[in-house]
Amino acid sequence: MTTDSTGSGEPILQATGLVKTFGRVVGLDGVDLELYPGEVLAVIGDNGAGKSTLIKCLTGAEVPDEGAIRLEGRRVQFKRPQDARAHGIETVYQTLAVSPALDVAANLFLGRELRKPGPLGSVLRVIDKKRMRQRAREELAELGITTLQDVTVPVENLSGGQRQAVAVARAAAFGSKVVVLDEPTAALGVRESQQVLEMIASLRDRGVPVILISHNMPQVFEVADRIHIQRLGKRAATITPQSHSMTDAVAIMTGAVQEDVH
């Protein structure tokens, strides 16, 4: 890697030689990827370059045919999204995976509800709404999310940006190691996109590394520390916003310029 500048120490998440084929179609053709602690790594690429497949392999939605994924230096194998989640890799999907009729706190804790202490919780399995609301407020404040004041509001009453904030907060909360965001601003307006970018920056400031998949070059260049460019199922280059311009990135993406990656 010739242009790596901000990555330091051991990568927290590392993929080597990932191959994934769908019948005769080659989705990934030996991809490497490194994510270092405390950085925002953007993944860009043309349609069909293998961005989604790469991310699906990293988050357990697809199982790669070959290659290895290491989390904090240890080899891991994800057979389904729950496996990746159990290892601390949280994903925010393009289709906002929130439950519209449930409130903000319930969505944050969906699938991992807190129970009341004592036999009420362990035997009768009663959930502790008060504590969940309290923790939800704390998590949102810690993430610097100021757009969600009332955690008892049903998510369907929120704007697109606020819903995205709920989804990001759920991924970032509860000590996750890596947060993966798939096109988080694709459906949002200008101001809401800006809020999401700020959230990504504040995640990084808390030390949570982020993988951001995006089509939006200005946003990528604004928030990313390093940019992984995917082309024809391989990594074409890893660049930084300082070393390359958007035009350079597009040139590498489309194959107009060959970058030496190895």
Binding site: T91, I127, R191
Partner: protein, 344 residues
């Protein structure tokens, strides 16, 4: 950069426009948050109108009658609510209840099985029916409407084959089976054990739905199954457990039905599946899943009971009673559609 700022300002105007509220919009948002409000209003108005039209309506003996009429439908509607919350529907609730009541009655009266074991066999029928419906919906991925349309006919046929079409009289049964028809008096109103059992089930299910993770997962699975799956909820397992729980409730309904009619008959109650759906829908639970409460359903069941009883007291033809219930259903679904467009 100027363009960027302009875009932000434009967005503000647009948001302001969307946030502009009308009195009608406020009402809609209120109903959206508390869907049980509209059936509560309908019930209060109906009771006031019928009470005004005929003084006998509010007499204790008549209120007792209404409560007994509501007990069976109300219990079936409770099971139906669980299933409709997951965006499903169960056409077989009445048939499962009747099959359950026949098994309880026949095994105790003709096979001489002790009453508690007979009731346990009835519970097994309910759970078995729920397991079958749940298996077909979650494993074979068949639409609940088709599954339960099929199982409705299967259970109906099994009931008639098993019972030979004969009714078992309450007088021949052990006292435990007709216990649900026994009454005690509260403030001059005769209340049956069956009514109390129904209310206990409502309180229990309301607490479970609001107070446990399982309850939240039922709502989440009905609301947006894909979102629930991505949040790590095993949606198919939740659905299967919902059909099982509904089956258990139907077994209790079978017991209440035996006490209410002081008999177990293979021909009564099969058509109550439609009444149960009516109660759920009037009670504000959305057929699209994820939205509604059991208390709304209880109000819905009471509304149907009050309408039928009140209209017959005033001397309205039974056909017009059915007509009125039909209008109620269509009105309730229209209101649901309108509420779903609400935005705060």
């Amino acid at each position: 950069m100027n363009q960027h700022v302009a875009a932000v300002e434009e967005r503000d105007l647009a948001e302001e426009f969307l946030d502009r509220s009308t009195p009608l919009g406020t009402v809609r948002n209120l109903l959206h948050r508390y869907p049980a409000i509209s059936p509560a209003i309908v019930l209060v108005v109906a009771v006031a109108v019928f009470g005004g039209l005929n003084e006998r309506f509010l007499e204790p003996s008549n209120l007792s009658l209404v409560s007994q009429q509501v007990a069976v439908v109300g219990t079936l509607a409770l099971a139906q609510t669980l299933i409709i919350l997951t965006a499903g529907i169960d056409l077989s609730v009445g048939a499962v209840m009747v099959l359950g009541s026949m098994v309880v009655a026949q095994t105790t009266v003709q096979n001489g099985v002790p009453a508690p074991i007979g009731l346990a066999l009835g519970l097994a029928v309910g759970l078995g029916a729920g397991a079958l419906n749940g298996f077909l919906v979650t494993r074979l991925k068949l639409p609940p409407f088709i599954v339960t349309l099929g199982s409705l006919n299967v259970f109906l046929a099994l009931t008639l084959l098993y019972s030979g079409g004969a009714t078992v009289r309450g007088g021949d049964m052990p006292a435990l089976l007709t216990l649900t028809g026994e009454t005690f008096t509260v403030g001059g109103v005769n209340v049956t054990i069956g009514v109390v059992m129904m209310l206990v089930l409502y309180v229990a299910l309301a607490l479970i739905l609001q107070g446990t993770a399982w309850g939240r997962h039922v709502y989440a699975a009905g609301d947006d199954p894909e979102a629930a799956r991505l949040a790590g909820i095993r949606v198919q397992r939740v659905l299967a457990s919902v059909y099982l729980a509904a089956g258990a409730i139907l077994a209790v309904a079978a017991w209440i039905q035996i006490g209410r009619s002081n008999a177990a008959s293979p021909n009564t109650g099969v058509d109550l599946n439609l009444d149960s759906i009516t109660a759920v829908v009037i009670g504000g639970t959305s057929l699209f899943g994820g939205r509604g409460t059991v208390w709304g359903t209880l109000l819905g069941a009471l509304i149907v009971g009050v309408f039928r009883n009140g209209l017959s007291l005033v001397g309205v033809d039974v056909l017009w009673q059915t007509f009125a219930v039909g209008v109620l259903i269509i009105a309730a679904v229209s209101i649901d559609q309108w509420i779903r467009k609400a935005r705060t």
